[in-house]
């Protein structure tokens, strides 16, 4: 007999059913024991817990189906609009989840223990949905300028978001790995999306090879943890480690170390950051912003889940590792950024250094640290997506320029755009009255509460060093225009500036143009498309609003359900 447990679960009613050896908690959120009855092999699915994932999946499938039906040159702007719409539905679903959960206590696993339904995940679902909306809106004009518009980019964006959401919600190491791969594979393709730019292809390839490498390490870590504890579910691992003391814990710690490496790669923590500058520089600019926001957030969600939920008992072992990673990430990120001459590369190192602050919040292993880190991640997406959207606007066709000179004199040419960029830069530098100040403040406060004064000092020094290059960009924006256009980027030989032949043979069936059109930006104001303008306005407004009031930190505090 097949019991319609899943239906009961969806309706949120208590399902008292229990069949031979397993009990199902009210709401269908948890199955204890093993259901051996053939009729009950059906695992109850609490659909409400995965509404955003469902929305994105269905949305992506519908869009694919539509693209098959509609003529090839569909109305321009249709796909980004649909993507943003899907993102908006997903956002609405996530917000509904937020209120559906209320101020419930600890996380409840559901769907066979694979998914956590708690406010911690919902914060990330909201964050990722917003990133999808912003990413689609800011990518549209870029892709059209580069002659790359089509549905593929948006499908990839949705797929990566699905992966990121699954990571944030994951209840087990396997689910975490699945999410990681779904997200990463989409991101590899997005990095390589600019088919006619060699740097883009290179970025995709590098990201893919190193990503596979780190995934392998991660998976090996999962195997070791399973070997040590007999489970892959976070809750069960945690329970096991609370109840038992492993005399010989080498296998467990080795697994933990490798999982940290795998996720550390995704969040671009030193010393697993090498790919970041190359990939951020090579990827299409709006995708870089999206990638920096989503991959980092999802990676940190995974780290928090593994380290605090599954391995909370092993704090003494993992905190020093994260501490060292935080210090290295802060230091290397900000010092290296100073030496950069390319805007995208500089922002790549800047994003590395920003990850260091989140690590500071993570290693505090406290409610304050977690809420600070969540605040950091949530406010950071607005800043980073906005920053890269501005850079994308300025680069000119074919990403002709991304050196620092491209931003010179922006304040005079386009005061509003420069003002918005200034907000983002000040926020990343951590200037008061922006979200960046409070973000840094909260994580450093968490370190101080744990008595880690040295770490606090290091974090503040890193902020001071980093302020140098943020303010340098800001200063460039408001310094006067040079009389003549600056030099072309170094990687384009001046001899054949304008048209660069791609070394690889194009795949004929895709009907590609074989040449990359390079058209340096004109000295005049660049047009700001409405969609990008809206993204920038909302991001800047949020950055300031979160910096002068406490709603965002209250939000992050309520999402700190791990402690």
């Amino acid at each position: 007999m097949i019991q319609p447990l899943h239906l009961l679960g969806f309706l949120g009613q208590a399902s008292p059913a229990s069949s031979s050896g397993c009990t199902i908690a009210p709401g269908g959120f948890r199955v204890d024991g093993f259901c051996t009855d053939p009729g009950s092999l059906h695992i109850p699915v609490a659909y409400r817990s995965i509404i955003p994932v469902l929305v994105l999946t269905i949305g992506a499938l519908v869009m694919l189906a539509l693209s098959a039906v509609l003529p090839k040159r569909a109305r321009p702007g249709l796909w980004p609009a649909l993507t943003a719409l899907v993102g908006a539905f997903s956002l609405a679903g996530a917000v509904w989840q937020w209120y559906d959960l209320g101020t419930a206590g600890a996380a409840q696993p559901t769907i066979g223990g694979q998914i956590f339904y708690d406010r911690f995940s919902v914060l990330f679902l909201i964050l990722i949905s917003i990133a999808v909306i912003f990413g689609a809106l800011s990518a549209d004009s870029y892709l059209r300028r580069e002659g790359l518009d089509g549905i593929e980019a948006y499908i990839l964006m949705l797929m990566s978001a699905i992966g990121a959401m699954l990571m944030a919600q994951s209840g087990s190491l396997i689910m975490l790995f699945l999410g990681l791969e779904i997200m990463s594979i989409a991101l590899y393709v997005m990095a390589a999306y600019h088919r006619r730019r060699t740097q883009s292809g290179e970025a995709g390839l590098k990201y893919f090879i190193l990503g596979s490498f780190s995934s392998a390490l991660f998976l090996y870590g999962v195997a070791l943890i399973y070997g040590a504890t007999g489970s892959v579910e976070f809750g069960l691992i945690g329970n096991f480690l609370t109840g038992n003391v492993i005399a010989n814990n080498g296998v467990l710690l080795g697994g933990m170390a490798l999982v940290i490496v795998g996720l550390g790669f995704k969040v671009a923590a030193v010393p697993f950051h090498y790919w970041t500058p190359d990939v951020y520089q090579g990827s299409p600019t709006p995708f870089t912003g999206y990638m920096a926001a989503v991959a980092k957030a999802a990676g940190f969600a995974g780290l928090f889940r593994v380290l605090t939920q599954a391995l909370g008992t092993q704090q003494a072992n993992w905190r020093p590792i994260i501490w060292l990673m935080a210090v290295l990430t802060l230091g290397i990120g900000s010092v290296m950024a100073i030496a950069q001459k390319d805007l995208k590369r500089m922002m790549a190192y800047s994003s590395i250094s920003q990850a260091g602050y989140v690590l500071v919040g993570l290693q505090a292993a406290s409610a304050t640290g977690t809420s600070g880190a969540l605040f950091y991640l949530f406010t950071y997406i607005f800043v980073i997506v906005g920053t890269f959207a501005v850079i994308g606007l300025l680069q000119g066709r074919g990403e002709a320029r991304s050196d620092l000179g491209v931003i010179r004199g922006l304040g005079r040419r386009q005061p509003l755009l420069a003002g918005v960029m200034l907000v983002f830069l000040l926020a990343q530098a951590g200037v008061p009255f922006t979200s960046g100040f409070l973000a840094k403040f909260y994580v450093i406060q968490a370190a101080v509460q744990r008595g880690q004064y040295w770490l606090a000092v290091i974090a503040m020094l890193a902020a001071a060093i980093a302020a140098f290059f943020y303010l340098r960009i800001a200063l460039l924006m408001y310094s006067s225009d040079p009389a003549e256009p600056g030099p072309l980027p170094v990687d384009v030989p001046p001899a054949d500036a304008g048209v660069l032949t791609l070394g690889l043979e194009p795949i004929a069936s895709l009907d590609l143009e074989t040449t990359l059109v390079i058209d340096p930006p004109s000295r005049g104001p660049v047009p700001v498309p409405l969609a990008v303008g809206a993204v920038l306005a909302v991001s800047a407004a949020f950055t300031i609003a979160a910096g002068v009031s406490s709603f965002a930190i209250d939000f992050a505090k309520q999402a700190t359900t791990l402690f």
Binding site: L205, K206, I209, L210, F213, S214, L217, N248, N249, G250, L253, G254, M256, A257, L258, I260, V261, G264, F265, V270, P271, F272, Y274, W275, P277, D278, N317, P320, I321, I332, S334, V335, M336, A337, I338, A339, Q340, P415, L416, L438, F441, Q445, I465, F468, V548, S549, S550, F551, I553
Partner: protein, 645 residues
């Protein structure tokens, strides 16, 4: 929705709109500037805030005396540990009274500025500053804690800087703006130390925590703490309100456009110090020495500034020194323990000093930016509206009954007499000087020979030859309104017939526990009033006698007074002499070599290590993979060390 939010929101909205209006390609009828739309927008916002204030006031009046205070939290800024900084508004009789005249007088001056600033290339910027100023000022007085109030305080200082230096292409304006700003920083220093002290003692900046329950006063406040807080806050107050020893920025601030002088340097900003003292009354109550200090600073400033005002030739500088002197009276009243007397004088002064400044602006406008009184004269025939307006302001300031100044100054003098006859004597002498220098000004400007005609003749074709003209209606309407206020405003707090509205209105804010009431005998009051009137009339008569026929009387204009007792020169000598040398040593030796050297060294270190570290970033995937592998190996090695035990 409480109307109090509107008081704050409207000027803010105006300021933001005007800030961004600079980016819009809107053109007014005058051409490239947004003239006059910006002005009308700014006026509408400020007057709208005035209407909202009146609304709030009307709802307050309807309540019982104890129910007139309410605290509206807008949002919490930083909730960190014990420190909760709220952006909140405290609506109570004191803050609303201030808002009434800040937005009311401010609105009239904004309206006046539309005419005055007509054709200025930076028309839009001017009104942005005006709205930003009104916003900062209402934040200053409406804030429910000292820190938020301090934000408004700083905003006011910033707007003042921008407005004094509005014509920054003039060197003197730029220098004056800098002077105003630097002098105010000295006061801000006091205010900030007071903030730290408050946090240390009370763990909060909220008025409710720092000032204690109003009805009973602070039970646990030690006299030493109270004195320290009082003196530190007083340092802030004297800088903002241009009292001794930080008065010298105000006369120089006359470099700004005349409406600015009227708005900021007569009616509103300079009363911020008076407000701060009144607001802190529950602390001051516990410090007897603090009260005496306040009273004597007020009295000394009043006399000192009045002596300088006797010998100024610039029409606005006379009024500026007179403002310093009149604020001295307000502070004297507060130091004497009669806060409502000081506030009464503040309100009356806002009316008649704004009137005088705006009339002076009309005179300057009529004479094409001539400010030297020795080159005026005979204007009463030409300025048919400005002249009577100025005369009303003059009579009010000279404290001739029954105009505004007489009544409010009389209450202050009565309070001073109660505190100490010596304070009262200083006040009375000042009153005589006030009447004298104002008479001198009126005669030099409006009577006698028309000396501007010589000037224009001498200038020949310089474009001066047209006769002085009366100002446009946007300028004269505020003059008329303020004239009426200067004649009848005193009825707000008349000492008879149960007309003491301000006293009764403020009574809940200054209960007997923190401001013990005292009664001056009615007979004494009569004597004080009569003596003050006699002295004022004597001042007027001596002024007429001295200046009726002659324009230059060197015997009555000693250089020491014309130069303001050489205080500025003295400070300049001290600052440019040894102080400048020390500063230059510090800046070029210590700062450039030691501080900058180490900072640059660190920067160079960071940049250099960045350059070196770049070599790791080879671009080859194999090297990257090796790096990741090495990192993983280090971590594995570490956990291997910890494992097993």
């Amino acid at each position: 929705m409480n109307a109090a939010y509107v008081i704050v929101a409207l000027p803010l909205a105006g300021a933001i709109a005007l800030l961004f209006a600079g980016c819009l390609p809107i053109r007014g009828p005058v051409g490239k500037v947004r003239d006059p739309w910006s002005g009308w927008l700014a006026t509408a916002m400020t007057l709208g805030a005035f209407v909202a204030t009146v609304w709030v006031w009307a709802t307050q009046v309807g309540r019982s005396a104890s129910g007139r205070s309410s605290d509206l939290n807008i949002f919490t800024w930083i909730p960190v540990g014990d420190l909760h900084v709220n952006f909140g508004l405290q609506v109570d009789p004191l803050s609303i009274l201030w808002c009434l005249f800040v937005t009311g007088v401010g609105g009239l001056i904004t309206l006046y500025s539309i005419g005055y600033m007509k054709g200025d290339p930076s028309f839009n910027r001017f009104f942005f500053y005006l709205n930003a100023f009104v916003f900062s000022m209402v934040v200053l007085v409406l804030a429910d804690n000292y820190l938020f109030s301090f934000l408004g305080w700083e905003g006011v200082g910033f707007c003042s800087y921008g407005l004094v230096g509005f014509w920054f292409e003039r060197n003197s304006a730029a220098v004056a703006a800098k002077k105003a700003f630097v002098t105010n920083r000295v006061g801000d220093f006091g205010f900030m130390i007071a903030l730290f002290l408050m946090f240390k003692h009370f763990g909060s900046f909220n008025f409710s925590a720092v000032l204690g329950p109003l009805s009973a006063g602070h039970a646990t406040l030690a006299a030493s703490t109270a004195t320290a807080l009082t003196l530190l806050l007083l340092l802030g107050a004297v800088a903002k309100s241009a009292q001794l020893p930080l008065y010298m920025w105000l006369p120089d601030a006359m470099e700004g456009p005349t409406p600015v002088s009227a708005l900021i340097h007569a009616a509103t900003m300079v009363t911020a110090g008076v407000y701060l003292i009144a607001r802190s009354a529950p602390i001051i109550h516990f410090s007897s020495s603090g009260q005496w200090t306040i009273a004597w600073i007020g009295a000394a400033t009043a006399l000192f500034a009045a002596t300088i005002a006797c010998n100024q030739n610039d029409i606005k500088r006379v009024l500026a020194y007179s403002t310093v002197s009149q604020i001295g009276y307000m502070v004297l009243g507060e130091g004497s323990g009669d806060y409502s007397a000081g506030i009464y004088h503040t309100v009356m002064h806002a009316f008649f000093k704004a009137l005088l400044f705006l009339s002076a602006g009309a005179v300057i406008h009529a004479l094409h930016d001539e400010q030297d009184m020795k080159r005026m004269g005979g204007l009463r025939k030409h300025l048919r509206i400005t002249f009577p307006a100025f005369i009303i302001g003059y009579l009010a300031l000279s404290a001739i009954p029954p105009f505004d100044g007489f009544w409010s100054k009389d209450t202050v003098l009565a309070a001073a007499f109660h505190k100490s006859p010596a304070l009262w004597a200083v006040g009375v002498i000042t009153a005589g000087l006030t009447a004298y220098y104002m008479t001198r000004q009126v005669i030099l400007v409006f009577y006698g020979q028309a000396r501007w005609a010589d000037q224009s003749a001498a200038h020949g074709a310089a474009g001066h030859s047209a006769p002085p003209h009366e100002a446009p209606p946007t300028m004269t309407v505020p003059l008329v309104i303020l004239s009426v206020a200067s004649v009848l405003g005193w009825l707000l707090n008349a000492p008879f017939g149960g007309l003491d509205f301000i006293n009764r209105w403020l009574a809940p804010v200054f209960p007997a526990a923190i401001a013990p009431s005292f009664a001056v005998h009615t007979g004494t009051k009569w004597i004080i009033g009569l003596v003050a009137t006699a002295v004022a009339v004597a001042g007027v008569l001596s002024g007429i006698a001295a200046w009726r026929r002659q324009v230059d009387r060197p015997a009555l204009e000693p250089a020491v007074l014309a130069h303001g007792w050489y205080i500025d020169e003295g400070i300049a000598a001290a600052v440019s002499g040894p102080l400048a040398r020390t500063a230059s040593d510090l800046s070029f030796e210590v700062d450039a070599k030691l501080v900058d050297g180490s900072v640059n060294g660190i920067a160079r270190l960071a940049a250099e290590s960045g350059r070196q570290l770049r070599r790791i970033q080879t671009g080859y995937v194999r090297n990257y993979a090796l790096g990741i592998g090495a990192g993983a190996a280090v971590i594995l090695f570490y956990v291997a060390l910890r494992a097993g035990s």
